[in-house]
Amino acid sequence: MKRLFVPLVVVTGVLFAIVPFLIANAPYESTMGLIQKIFYFHVPSWMAMYTGIGVCGVASGIYLFRNNRRADGYAVAGAEVAVLFGLMGLVSGPLWGRKAWGVWWQWDVRLTTALLLELIFIAYIMVRKYGGPGSEKLAAATALFGTATAPFVYKSVDIWRTVHPKTSVVPELLAGSMPGAALPFGLSALAFVLLAILFITVRTGLAHRQAALDDLYLELED
């Protein structure tokens, strides 16, 4: 991963430099007009959040069942990144909704479950921060529940009737339902997911240094 880090930073940087121009030149959607352009970073934010959740869920499972401390570092990094990108989605969504639906928020199944998912991962971070010794295991179990919830949040728009667009919007768009929109969206999604991976990498490094520091404290106490 260390060898890949610099190329990853460069590729992500280039993508974030290009994507705003592509979004600006993307076609306007018929009913929403300019505000629909929030889509190009609202949906990628959720994709990045799901990347964080995936990493946190898998790493938490490894930590919980195999007691692997390095995996715990990845788990905490994934949770923080999930909260960060979830927050971006939860802020950009209402800004889009205010214009598209006329309201900032609807207690609609997708919006509500997405908020709950964000709260689960905030709970994970709070348990780790304030839970005292041994809270890592409790947090890992919380992360497994959060990860299990994530697919329901994603599919909620297809299962229940909601004001939020269905999951088919993205595949339809990539298949060419709106000519000229697939490239900016695809590159934006890639940029966000790469940024999430970068943040997870850096944050994992920090978690491992913190673990080394804790070991050093214990060594000195002995």
Binding site: G33, L95, K99, P165, K166, R209, L220
Partner: protein
Amino acid sequence: MNRPRGVLTLIASLFLLAAPTLAAQPPAASSEFVPATPGSATEQLPAAPLLVAAYAFVWVAAMVYVWTIWRRLNKVEADMHALERKSRAAR
């Protein structure tokens, strides 16, 4: 009330109840975006400030997160060096 008149009243009542119920249903969720026809103006509330606010928030949130990682990393490294010095002095 005789039977045919009762049935008619029931049907009329159902129709009268069904009409507002059906009318109150939210529109079906969209499954795809439709490109705009050039020149169509549907904007009432200005979209640009909302769009800019969303974009700015994404950047600010990312920058603040980078800053917090940098700060925490510096603190851990400083603590690490201090402890290493202490442990060397103890030996």
